[in-house]
Amino acid sequence: MNAIELNGVSVRAGERTLLESVDLSVPEGAHLLLVGPSGCGKTTLLRVIAGLAAPAAGRVSLFGALASEGQRVVMAPEKRGIGMLFQGGALWPHLNARKQLEFVLDCCGTPRAQWKERVAELLEWVELPGYRERMPATLSGGEAQRLALARAIASSPRLLLLDEPLGPLDEELRGALLVKLHELHQRLRLTVIHVTHAPLEASDYATRTVRLRSGRIVDDTQAPGVRA
């Protein structure tokens, strides 16, 4: 089954066209790299998939279920089973690391008795085990991004959207986070859509690369292989 199915999706902002009749099918378990110059519509495409932006026309289906048709949103964002890692993390500034994760666990119906164990597990996995009570303002860029990754997967999503997650990080941290993302993809068999304007650094892990220009798909290439 396809995880994502876009048919003729167009998005407009006033007179400007952000996406023009985009057709895209992404099979389950794929790691798709979405590349292109700034302003070409990469983030808009992610937001349409997440239900955060309404298309002007077209159909969006997720795992076989209709998510939106034209301007009609059929499935609210919170019902789509999506995790998203935003550029810069977008951590909630008033909640500490533990509460960030507990909020997600609460929303997705995880029994309260399991929260402590699950929070510890997630923080352990992103290598922030002693950071339970730390506030976002006290974290470095890399730490904040790893906490945001833990938050994105806390609800056990089937689809993970990454919006330029490596942007603000230095080279060493980029490498470490990429390995984490790859590990996640392999372990959970998640479908990953990874937006970046620097495709080279992530291309080793991607199964497919889609290139956008001026709101249109101009290239769609299957990757030769994935680095082990």
Binding site: A50, G51, L52, A76, P77, E78, R80, I82, G83, M84, F86, G88, A90, W92, P93, H94, F103, V104, C107, C108, G109, R151, A154, S155
Partner: protein, 512 residues
């Protein structure tokens, strides 16, 4: 955003702020429309516009430099003078009029202009100060490298002036809709100073011509809305231009030899607007010209507490209830205004109660609720709370809108993707982040409600407030009692903001 919640909030807002105005429209008769353009009406309207425009200009002349000096310079005691600069805005305008007409021995139009300018310059100062603080250091540094501090200031001004203009528009609206200053100044004797809001009041109360009262209010509403709409647009251009994530705080301008003259200017404004009036009230409470004694101050306060206890309690309870409803509306509507597609249209609707004269809102409430079936509500505090919500909810809503605009939408989007519905996202993510704005809206509504006189004059249930008691007693010449009551009211007005400043770590958001 949850549509049911937003619909409920809109319904409550409309019931309190719009329905009374709409209820008045059928009262207009064709003769009233003709009378609208009578020479006297037009003359009053012209005078009122001149009055509002003049006051707004003086407010800019005082408020812009004050805002700049306290927010962005190394002037001595800038951090202390900044909060003190808000005090004139919080003191009821009629109390300022009471003090300064005696102290400066001024009457008529000059008194009204001076008192209104003192009362409204803090609005311009607050807007200007916020805009000066939101200039990214790098922009300013680029200008400094090109031509020093003067060039930096020249580069800053175009970024600040939209906010200053927004403050000036609000100062204009406050002035043309105020009834209390002109009424007090005219009550003192010749020369009288009549304004348009007083005419609307007279048409209702003295002439008993409600249709004429409404018809004559229409031009004033049109003019104030004409000032408010640009104000809203300007604030989006200026102060609400949200801070980007990598914002760098600007450094303070060095005043050099001008530090102390600047300090004297700001101190003089704070003294004229706040310290001297409060000192004068204290002096009045102690007997004033009859011989000041501290024992008399105690007696005046004891008398004020004994006779005014019920009025003070009513003022506190009704204002707090109204402020709480305003804050709840602010969270839901303020957020919806910024985030929903119909936000801009809703915003135009929300400002209508600000644009309408308070007297008209009050008359509308009488028309709407003075019936047998609603007698219990009309005769008790419920109607007062509704009046105050109608009058002031818009301010709280606009403050929350401005704060929402500065909030990164991704914080809400990530909550939605985590599985939180719109209500949970609003309660658990948005509300805590908007807390300074919601508390600011609460305090703003509470303060404005406590010092409100215009809407309380016509509705019988609202006659039992501290401000109305002061207004009544002024006319009976009870100076010591009035001074003590006024001081207690000012204390209540200043209390919430002072407590927040002392105990909260984040600065209160008080601006729309």
């Amino acid at each position: 955003m949850n549509r049911v919640l937003v619909a409920l909030a809109i319904a409550l807002f409309a019931l309190a702020g719009l329905a009374p105005l709409v209820a008045m429209l059928p009262r207009i008769e064709s003769a009233d429309l003709g009378a609208m353009f009578a020479a006297r009406n037009l003359e009053l309207l012209g005078r009122t516009l001149l009055y509002g425009g003049g006051v707004a200009l003086i407010a800019v002349a005082l408020g812009l430099p004050f805002g700049f000096l306290v927010a962005r310079t190394d002037m001595p005691l800038a951090n202390l003078l900044r909060p003190l600069g808000i005090v004139p805005l919080l003191i009821p305008p009629m109390i300022l009029a009471m003090v300064w007409t005696v102290l400066a021995d001024i009457r008529g139009a000059p008194a009204a202009y001076a008192v209104s300018a003192i009362s409204t310059f803090p609005i311009v100062a607050l807007f200007s100060a916020r805009a000066f603080e939101r200039i990214d250091a790098r922009r300013e540094e680029a200008a400094r490298l090109a031509g020093g501090w003067c060039a930096a200031l020249r580069a800053d001004l175009p970024l600040v002036l939209p906010s200053t203009a927004c403050g000036a528009c609000l100062a204009f609206v406050f002035t043309v809709n105020d009834y209390s200053i002109a009424d007090y100044v005219s009550w003192l004797g010749q020369p009288k100073f009549s304004v348009y809001a007083a005419e609307i009041f007279a048409n209702w109360r003295i002439e008993s011509r409600p249709g004429l009262a409404v018809a004559s209010a229409v031009p004033l509403i049109a003019i104030t809305l004409g000032a408010l709409v640009p104000a809203l647009l300007l604030r989006r251009k200026g102060a609400m231009a949200s801070l980007s994530g990598d914002f760098r705080q600007p450094t303070r301008f060095e005043l050099g030899a001008w530090r102390w003259p600047a300090f004297t200017f700001c101190l003089a404004l704070v003294a004229i607007g706040g310290l001297i009036p409060l000192a004068r009230l204290f002096y009045e409470a102690g007997g004033a010209a009859r011989g000041f004694e501290l024992a008399r101050v105690s007696r005046a306060f004891a008398l004020a507490i004994e006779r005014g206890r019920e009025d003070l309690a009513n003022s506190i309870v009704w204002s707090a209830a109204a402020a709480t409803i305003c804050a709840a509306l602010a969270l839901v509507l303020g957020h919806a205004l910024e985030r929903s597609r119909i936000g801009r249209a809703l915003e135009a609707l929300v400002v209508v109660p600000i644009g309408a004269p308070a007297v008209l809102l009050s008359v509308g409430v009488i028309v709407l609720w003075n019936h047998d079936w609603s007698a219990r509500f009309y005769d008790e505090g419920g109607v007062v709370v509704l009046l105050l919500v109608g009058r002031f909810a818009a301010f709280a809503v606009l403050i929350a809108t401005a704060a929402t605009a500065a909030l990164d939408p991704r914080l809400e989007e990530s909550a939605r993707l985590a599985g939180a519905g719109p209500v949970r996202t609003l309660a658990r993510i948005v509300a805590p982040l908007l807390r300074p704005a919601l508390v600011g809206g609460w305090i703003g509504a509470f303060v404005l409600a406590l010092r409100e006189l215009d809407v309380t004059m016509l509705t019988p249930a609202a006659n039992r407030t501290a401000m109305f008691r002061i207004f009544n007693q002024v006319h009976f010449g009870r100076d010591d009692f009035v001074a003590a009551m006024a001081l207690m009211l000012v204390f209540l007005v200043l209390l919430p903001g002072t407590l927040w400043s002392l105990f909260a770590r984040r600065r209160l958001e008080l601006l729309p």
